[in-house]
Symmetry: C2
Subunit: 247 residues, 2 copies
């Protein structure tokens, strides 16, 4: 069955640059949340954007659990604290102090938390595109998280993804059934400011990798000399972005 076409060129160069600006200025926010409430019209747009993520077999396996209850957020924060202590002990001794001092979540300071889940039984046991790679439904929920994150940034809101949690205990706190995975636990809210760089980069924990080092041609670790690749030359030129897109 043929569906109508989209209008030609419905995305302008200015629209495109809006996307790029959003992508480059998106941050994982932990310490900059302010407690102002989020407008429901804004939140509805962000959820709508998340719901328009791609999903394997059009399964739409996600739910959005909006967590505002102070008591519930305190329980999740307790889970974070416990996991954070356990995590600290896993790092080499010389890195433990640095790790433990990092601000890694804004569960209580942000006005809204959202747990974005994946219902692995949403459309029955056999799903188009999930027959051979059974994590595809989880990946669909991650695509929804990335849409949500970008939409929030474009609305001026920060998002932080809290992954230092025991998944099974989080499921108990949120009363999730066995077949539902809490793919992302997100903190969402207005911020005092967005940082120009990712915090772990600014803190010297890890550098941003040169993109050209991550590109292979027709097989793992197959590289091309820059002279032979227009693509690598373009990457080095790095010229075509709007001026206020911080790399």
């Amino acid at each position: 069955m043929e569906t109508p076409q989209q209008p030609d060129n419905n995305i302008s160069p200015a629209d495109r640059d809006g996307l790029y600006k959003t992508i480059f200025s998106r941050r994982d926010v932990r310490g900059q949340f302010i407690s102002d409430p989020i407008d429901d019209a804004v939140l509805s747009r962000i959820l709508y954007a998340a719901h328009h993520a791609p999903s394997v077999g059009f399964m739409q396996p996600w739910n959005f659990i909006i967590v505002k209850s102070q008591q519930l957020r305190q329980q999740v924060h307790d889970l974070f604290k416990q996991a954070h202590e356990e995590a600290t002990a896993m790092f080499p001794e010389e890195k433990q102090d640095i790790y433990h001092g990092l601000k890694l979540e804004g569960i209580l300071e942000s006005p809204v938390n959202i747990c974005l889940t994946c219902d692995r039984q949403r459309t029955g046991p056999v799903v188009i595109g999930r027959t051979h790679i059974d994590t595809m439904d989880l990946y669909s929920s991650v695509c929804a998280i990335q849409n949500l994150w970008l939409a929030a940034r474009a609305e001026g809101l920060g998002v932080g993804w809290v992954s230092i949690l025991d998944e099974q205990k989080l499921k108990e706190v949120l009363n999730l059934p066995e077949h539902v995975v809490p793919v992302g636990y997100l903190c969402l809210g207005k911020v005092s400011h967005f940082k120009a760089q990712p915090e772990l980069e600014a803190a010297g924990w890890l550098p941003r990798l040169p993109l050209e080092d991550l590109i292979y041609f027709d097989g793992w670790e197959k590289k091309l000399p820059v002279e032979e690749s227009l693509l690598l030359q373009q990457l080095k030129a790095d010229a075509d972005f709007p001026a206020d897109c911080a790399g």
Copy 2:
């Protein structure tokens, strides 16, 4: 260490609408690819956008294997054909004909395939944020795929994610080491047109779910009556998007 702030309000309402338009008009493209080459400047921007995805512990676990070799793409297409036959047999008998007739990939028609991977050992065994949920690095690579997909759409290019493949055999074809996962095998190229609706929705395979049914409050399956939720009222109003954003 404090980093400089981003310019205030660097994302305008027009930028935001550019993001929303892109999100709502992104499609999984299978049958509409044309063979025209992709400009290297465009491809470099798309890869740059992917590289600016969030990653757990700033791990940047992705690589981009650009697959243009006809021989390699033929090998991947053979893997698809085999998996597609296996998949057909998994569906209930009355759905097998419909399933088998669906066009589910554009491996040979698109000018470029990209395998986006996850190197699970990229920054050593202990990664900030991956200490308790060990799939977080795979999820980071998925975020990069979603950035790539949106950037491609904003550049007028289609992307199709091929997941009907035996992962182990794909690793052999691309010569991936054991610790590298081929998270997404993507077909990329110019298109004759973008469809107004997802193909599986248009084909009547599955409907788009009402977003309001997917939202819970403070726990699984905890719903609110519409009268008590401004958010649900906003979702029903659905009013604030640019006029040419197809829902």
